[in-house]
Each structure stands twice: as structure tokens, then as C-alpha cells.
């Protein structure tokens, strides 16, 4: 089952942050790095953005959008020790917090992971958009070939844009640093890093065993919904993968079917022409099938997969919220039983109580936003797929109809046939 789950054994996960997941001995074809040329102003980017991302939704009014980010130009970067892919991240913005209106930086997958980690850390009960997985699922796409890099690039692009659209995350300091700093490594080492994160997550694991006393009903409902949604979206994702697989096998057979007509035509005289006609029809339908498969795997599947990952994120958010509440409840109980240090403890408890309230509010706010996004994204992906299916059949229909037309007898022939009957 796909999804970014928090593994039981942490240490491997932690060390991975230093290890390079982009590691690959791979010479990139730089001609791949040919995204459409960047327009000069943020406002002219509105249409550009729409064209590039066919079904990407625009949550905010386009005219209100004051930051535009693109991820493109994946390039292989070779050092003495390793090879990895660097992506170009270009930001154009009119926001005052930014010193300049345009930035261009190079980032690797690891950097994106870092950013996400910091965002989650600072906003434990916000639903941070997911990143594409570190490793591919078997059967999908070969690791580090052009398709994989392109799929990843698109997902990274989406990731940053989703953050930029988020009312809170968009203004995170880490986000700004990610977009603007030429050298990210120095920023990575500052501030609460591994240790506090380790502490947090280890505590989270420990606390997840301990139940919450009185979870507000709405959060229980949220959690139940999230469980169910996760199951459903995983099923849809699996079904879609299966459909793609079946379509590919169908395409393979179609490709072997065409030559049976062409070869037969070679030993025929009058019959050769219609046989070749059918061969040509089957061939053109094969091309359409190929394009359709491309849509399914490049558009529908990534959209579904994003929400498979999202569902896991939301589950984690639910757990963190519970833990925050559990922390507070634990200290609160201690307060009731202890006699000494009541004042200090009281202060701590008050702080934790505030934290609980903050966390709950953040989650409540983000929850409805996430739900709306989910509905919009998936609805648009399904509509697009239905449209593509209609298009596919319409094109095939035209192909066969033109063949029928070509077989219509000449006027004299028609008359002879009618006379004979």
C-alpha cells in the first residue's frame, strides 16, 4: 500500500535525511530542460500557469495571487561523492516581505524534504501538502528515467504552489528561505533541527499508545472520515493502476493485430485495399490508445496518488493533535495531585491548554480548506478523464467512419448492385 507512513523504526528515517535519495549515476539529457519561456510579470503568468497545469485548480482568485513559483529544468549534478538531480525553482512575487521580486535557486529533493519537515514541525496540526515519494512503487515507472523525473518535477511544482496558496504556510519563514536562499545548507543546520524533531516524533510514537480522554466529537468524526477516505482513495488509486496495466496489454495486442491485415493484403488483389484500410484503422486506434494511457498515467494517477499521500498526512495530523491534547491532560492530572510547585506547573498547564486550543483551531480551519481542495482536485481529475475517454472514442469513431466512407460503392456500382438484386 502506498502512502507516507511514519515507520516504527525511526533511526533509518532520520539518517535518510543525510543520504541522498536522488543518488543516481545518470546523465541527464539537457534538452529535457526546456520548459516554456518565463514571462516577465506575475500577472502575465496567470495564463501561463493555467496552460501548464491543465487541471490544476486555482483556489484563490487569479488576480489576488501575489506569488508565482515554478519548478523546472531538472539537471544532473555530479560531485566527487555522489550524483543527484537539481531542480530550478523560480519565484516571482510582489509581496513586501520579499526583498526582491524575482528569485532563482537550485534545489534537490532532500531540500524539499527539509522544508516539509520544518513546516510540519512548526504547524503540527496543519495539513501540509505531500511530497512525491522517495522511491517508486514497483510496476509504475523505472527509477530515475525521464518519465520518473518529469513526474517528480510536476509533483514538486505542485507541492510548492499548494504551499503558496495556503493562508498560513505561505508565510512561513522556512518557505521564504527555501525560495530565496542561494545556499540552503547553512539554514538547514540552524534552529531546532534533528534533536527536537527526534524528541517530538519519538514522544509522538510513545504517546500514540496512550489514549486521549475526551476527544471532541468533531475530531473523532474527522478521524473516522480520514480512515474511510484513505481506504477509498487507495482503492481508486489501485483500480486506476490496474486499468493502466490492462490498457497497456491491450495496446500490445493491438500492435500485433495490425500486421495480420497488412500481411494478408499482400497476397490479395481486389481485397487488398479494404484489408489495408482496416489495418490503417487499427493502427490509428492504437495511437489513440497510447495517448489515452499517457493521460491516465500522467494526469489522473498523479492526482489520485497525491490524495493517497494526503490521507496519510491527515492521519498523522490527527495523531499529533491527539498527542498535544494528551500532553495537556497528563500535566493537568499531575497538577491535581501534586502539592509542590503548583504555580510553575499551573503555568505550564495553562501553556499547554493554549497549545491545545491553538492546535484544534488550526486543524478545524485547515480541515474544511483541505476538504474543498480535495473535492475540487478530484472532481476536476475525474471530469478530465471522462472527457479524455469521450475524445478517445470520438477519434476512433471518426477513423472507422472514414473507412466506411472509402468502401462506399461508386454510383455506377451502386446501380449495378440494385439491378442485380
Amino acid at each position: 500500500m502506498s502512502g507516507q507512513t511514519v515507520p516504527a523504526d525511526f533511526t533509518e528515517h532520520m539518517l535518510d535525511l543525510d543520504e541522498d535519495e536522488d543518488l543516481e549515476v545518470f546523465s541527464k539529457n539537457t534538452s529535457l530542460a526546456d520548459e516554456s519561456p518565463m514571462p516577465n510579470s506575475p500577472s502575465s503568468m496567470v495564463n501561463q500557469y493555467r496552460l501548464e497545469e491543465d487541471e490544476e485548480e486555482q483556489q484563490q482568485d487569479a488576480s489576488a495571487k501575489d506569488i508565482f513559483i515554478t519548478v523546472d529544468n531538472p539537471e544532473s549534478h555530479v560531485t566527487a561523492i555522489e550524483t543527484f538531480i537539481l531542480y530550478r525553482v523560480v519565484t516571482k512575487t510582489t509581496r513586501s516581505e520579499f526583498d526582491s521580486s524575482e528569485y532563482e535557486v537550485r534545489r534537490r529533493y532532500q531540500d524539499f524534504l527539509w522544508l516539509r519537515g520544518r513546516l510540519e514541525e512548526n504547524h503540527p496540526t496543519l495539513i501540509v501538502p505531500p511530497l512525491p515519494e522517495k522511491f517508486v512503487m514497483k510496476g509504475m515507472v523505472e527509477r530515475f528515467n525521464d518519465d520518473f523525473i518529469e513526474t517528480r518535477r510536476k509533483a514538486l511544482h505542485r507541492f510548492l504552489n499548494k504551499i503558496s496558496e495556503h493562508p498560513i504556510l505561505s508565510f512561513s519563514q522556512h518557505f521564504k528561505v527555501f525560495l530565496t536562499a542561494q545556499e540552503l545548507s547553512s539554514h538547514k543546520k540552524q534552529g531546532p533541527g534533528f534533536l527536537s524533531r527526534m524528541g517530538e516524533t519519538v514522544k509522538a510514537m510513545a504517546n500514540s499508545v496512550r489514549g486521549v480522554r475526551t476527544r471532541p466529537e468533531e475530531f473523532t468524526q474527522m478521524q473516522e472520515y480520514t480512515e474511510d477516505f484513505s481506504n477509498k482513495i487507495c482503492s481508486v488509486d489501485k483500480v486506476t493502476q490496474r486499468i493502466i496495466k490492462e490498457q497497456r496489454e491491450y495496446l500490445d495486442e493491438l500492435r500485433q493485430y495490425t500486421p495480420t491485415y497488412t500481411q494478408w493484403a499482400e497476397s490479395e488483389e481486389d481485397l487488398a485495399e479494404p484489408l489495408k484500410g482496416v489495418a490503417s484503422c487499427v493502427e490509428r486506434c492504437s495511437k489513440e490508445t497510447e495517448e489515452h494511457i499517457h493521460h491516465l498515467s500522467e494526469v489522473l494517477l498523479p492526482a489520485l496518488h497525491e490524495y493517497v499521500l494526503c490521507a496519510e498526512t491527515v492521519k498523522a495530523v490527527m495523531r499529533r493533535r491527539d498527542n498535544i491534547q494528551a500532553d495537556y491532560e497528563a500535566k493537568n492530572e499531575a497538577l491535581a495531585s501534586r502539592k509542590v510547585d503548583q504555580e510553575a506547573l499551573q503555568e505550564e498547564v495553562d501553556g499547554l491548554a493554549d497549545r491545545v486550543e491553538q492546535a484544534n483551531n488550526a486543524l478545524k480551519g485547515d480541515w474544511s480548506r483541505w476538504q474543498d481542495n480535495m473535492r475540487t482536485d478530484l472532481k476536476s481529475a475525474f471530469i478530465c478523464t471522462a472527457e479524455k475517454n469521450v475524445e478517445y472514442y470520438e477519434k476512433c469513431l471518426a477513423v472507422w467512419e472514414s473507412f466506411l466512407l472509402s468502401q462506399r460503392p461508386e454510383p455506377e456500382e451502386q446501380r449495378d448492385m440494385e439491378d442485380a438484386a
Binding site: 477509498k232 490496474r242 494478408w264 482496416v278 478530484l378 475525474f382 471530469i383 467512419e401 438484386a421
Partner: protein
């Protein structure tokens, strides 16, 4: 057997072939009536039903088999609109086989129409290879009817009495067939056709036709195999979409706003998945049309082989006559041109007595006379075969081109129908998604 005017332009009915109409839909079952005095003009024939029977077979074991109801009506009754009840009788597949074997042996210069296959071949996974499967039995019924119609509209075969009795006399038909003595001819034919022999001067056209029949056989079987695999895969694609139906339905239960849209979209996915069954069942008709010509190829080949056989026999008879004449000459002149044992012994032990020579010469003359008769017969047989077979092979070629072109057109019509269904389902699904 009446000789048909082969220059007439007649059309052969195709049984279940569907006619494409302007809107791409299909008209059903219009057998085209052709000119000439073939049986089909005088009699309406159909294989109306199929039934299962059980009985004891030759080794007294219980078996189940299918029987087919053949119905016939005089054509003028039909034309006058008289609602006459048809004459009918039941026949087993094995009786059809017997009829065909008789025709092949009796008319070796005719490309005899084939029977539908005995066992289901070129199946894709859904179709069972079971001979009792109702779909298979139904398609066989159609194929048998097609066979009868083809024979009944053939300028030569339609006049055959045995064929007529097959359609009209239920009992004792088998005995009548065996009485023709065709079985003996059938056995020798089988032996001859499977033998390898070298023909010196075969008719080039027949050799080309034989080569063509091999090609036809190979190409049609490849096409059928590839088509079956495509059908199998397409089935998989459609059926997997049924899973969308199930999942959307479950998912809709937990959603508020998206629920209705998802639920109804799911129903359309179910419909989509279900639609493939009819689509592929219809495509079987196309496969059957191609299959008919796969089997026809064999019949065509047999006609060519028969030519080779008669030509070979003629060559052998001529060869034999020549050597006998040479022997006579040697005997008469005493000059030994070729080696013979008699010649050697003569040299070694002296010439034989004049009386012996006379009697041998007389025997030879008899044999030569016989041989000349044989050569004459064989020459006529060969020439007749060539002439009649060439005519029928031309007829066959025209029929084949026409039928297969129609089959290809039908195939296109089926594809169009499938595309239209697809457009409908996905347009509906889109409407549902819009409501999400």
C-alpha cells in the same frame, strides 16, 4: 447435372451477414436471391432450431448431442404469401459431415463450402470451448444454415439429388448416400491426396492457386488468433472499470457533497463494464465470417491437389504407354533400345521361339490398346477437371472478395457501434462528475 451459364452475375447469400445501412446500423438477414435455376430460388431453407438429445452411440454408450431442425418451404408459396407450414426434419452435425464428404468426393472440381467448426477454436477466455455451450451451439446453427444456403445457391451443387434428399427425407437418407458407393472413392481420395508425388507439367494457374490457398489459410488463422487476444485484453480493460463502480459506491457513502455524483458515476462505470459482453459476442460473428474462409482455403487446396493427382495419373499412363510401345518396337524389330531383362536373357540364352514372340507381341498390343484408352480417359478427366475447376475457382474468388469485403465493412460497423456506446457512457459519467 445441369451446367450453369457461368457468365451470369449472381450473388451468393451469406446467411447472417449484416448489411451496413447509411447510419451505420445493420439490417438483419437479407439473403440475396440470385439469377439462375439453383435450388435456393425454388426453396426457402433455414436451420431453425437446435436441441439437445441423448441416445446410444455405435458402441452402445450413452451420449448427448445436438440436433438441428431444417425447415424448407417452396419459394412460390412464400412469394404468394401463403402461410404454409414448412416441412422439417432433424439432423445431427455428423450427418452434415457425411453430406459434405459425399459432395467433396462427387465434385472434386468444386470448391465445396465448409462446415462450421466442430470444436470451438480461437477462443478468448470468456467463451468456453464447450460444445454444449449455448452460444457456441447457436453460432453453429447459424453456420450450418449458411452451409446449406451456400450449397443451395451453387450452380452445380444445388442440383445434386443427395443434397435435395438431405433437406427433405429424414429417414434412410444415410443408406441412400452409402449406396452411391462414394465411401470407396472417399478412401482412395484421402490416400491419394495425402501422398507425395511429383508432377511434371502441372497447370501453372493451379499451382498458383494452391500457393494462394496456403497463404489464405495462414493469414486468416493469424488474424483470428490476434483478434482473439485483442478481445481478451479489451475484456480485461472494460471489466476492471467495474471496480470503479464498486469503490465509488462505497466512497459516496462517506461523502456529503460528492456523494450523489460519485454514486451515479459508479453506476455508469458498471454499465460500461457490462457492455463488453454484447460487444464481443457480436464480434464473434465477424470471426465466424473469417473462419469460413479459413476452412474454404482447405477446400480450394483440395481442388488444386485433385488437379495434381489427375495430371499425375495422366503422366503415369502416358509414360506407361510410351514404354509399352517401345517394348513392342523392340520385340518387332529385334533392336534393343532400352535395357530389359528379357533382352538380356535372349542374348545369353538365345532368342525365344517365334510362337512365344508372337504371343508376347499380341499381349503387348492388347496392353497398348488398353493403355491408349486409359490415356484418352485420363486426358479427358484431366481436361474436364481443369476446365470445370477453373470456372469454379473464379466463381469462388469473386465470392470471397465480395464476402470478405462485406465482413470488413461489418467489422467497421461494429467498431463504430462500440465507440458510440463508449461516448455515451463516458458523457454520462462526466455529467455525474460535474455534480460532485
Amino acid at each position: 447435372m445441369a451446367e450453369e451459364d457461368t457468365k451470369e452475375d449472381f450473388l451468393v447469400p451469406d446467411g447472417e451477414t449484416e448489411q451496413p445501412s447509411a447510419d451505420g446500423g445493420a439490417a438483419l438477414n437479407i439473403p440475396m436471391v440470385e439469377e439462375g435455376s439453383t435450388l435456393i430460388r425454388r426453396m426457402e431453407i433455414c436451420v431453425a432450431e437446435a436441441e439437445k438429445r441423448s441416445g446410444k452411440n455405435a458402441v452402445n454408450m450413452q451420449e448427448t448431442f445436438s440436433v438441428y431442425l431444417i425447415e424448407t418451404r417452396p419459394m412460390d408459396a412464400v412469394a404468394e404469401g401463403r402461410n404454409l407450414a414448412p416441412d422439417s426434419l432433424w439432423r445431427r452435425y455428423s450427418e452434415f459431415e457425411l453430406l459434405r464428404n459425399y459432395l467433396i468426393v462427387t465434385y472434386p472440381y468444386i470448391v465445396v463450402p465448409p462446415l462450421p467448426e466442430k470444436r470451438a477454436e480461437f477462443v478468448w477466455h470468456k467463451l468456453s470451448a464447450d460444445n454444449m455451450d449455448p452460444d457456441f451451439v447457436e453460432r453453429r446453427r447459424v453456420g450450418l444454415e449458411n452451409f446449406l444456403l451456400r450449397v443451395a445457391s451453387h450452380p452445380v451443387l444445388s442440383n445434386d439429388k443427395i443434397f435435395y434428399h438431405f433437406l427433405t427425407e429424414e429417414h434412410d437418407w444415410k443408406e441412400v448416400v452409402y449406396e452411391t458407393g462414394f465411401q470407396a472413392k472417399a478412401d482412395s481420395r484421402l490416400r491419394a491426396l495425402s501422398a507425395t508425388f511429383r508432377v511434371r507439367n502441372p497447370d501453372k494457374r493451379f499451382m498458383e492457386m494452391k500457393h494462394y490457398s496456403d497463404e489464405l489459410q495462414s493469414h486468416t488463422s493469424q488474424l483470428l488468433r490476434a483478434r482473439a487476444r485483442v478481445a481478451d485484453r479489451l475484456y480485461g480493460v472494460y471489466k476492471v472499470h467495474g471496480n470503479y463502480g464498486r469503490v465509488f459506491s462505497e466512497w459516496s457513502a462517506i461523502e456529503k457533497e460528492m456523494g450523489d455524483g460519485l454514486q451515479s458515476a459508479g453506476h455508469h462505470m458498471d454499465a460500461y463494464a457490462a457492455s463488453i459482453d454484447d460487444i464481443l459476442e457480436e464480434e464473434e460473428h465477424y470471426a465466424d465470417q473469417i473462419k469460413e474462409y479459413l476452412f474454404y482455403a482447405e477446400a480450394l487446396r483440395a481442388v488444386c491437389r485433385k488437379h495434381e493427382l489427375t495430371q499425375f495419373e495422366l503422366e503415369m499412363a502416358s509414360q506407361d504407354l510410351i514404354s509399352k510401345k517401345q517394348q513392342r518396337e523392340e520385340l518387332a524389330t529385334g533392336i534393343v533400345r532400352t535395357f530389359s531383362f528379357k533382352g538380356m536373357t535372349n542374348k545369353l540364352f538365345g532368342q525365344e521361339a517365334p510362337e512365344q514372340r508372337e504371343s508376347r507381341l499380341k499381349l503387348l498390343e492388347e496392353m497398348i490398346a488398353e493403355g491408349e484408352e486409359t490415356v484418352k480417359e485420363k486426358t479427358v478427366e484431366c481436361e474436364e477437371h481443369v476446365e470445370r475447376a477453373w470456372v469454379d475457382m473464379q466463381r469462388f474468388r469473386e465470392q470471397k472478395d465480395k464476402d470478405l469485403r462485406e465482413a470488413l465493412i461489418n467489422y467497421a460497423v461494429m467498431q463504430i457501434s462500440m465507440c458510440k456506446k463508449g461516448i455515451q457512457v463516458w458523457s454520462n459519467a462526466k455529467e455525474c462528475f460535474l455534480k460532485m
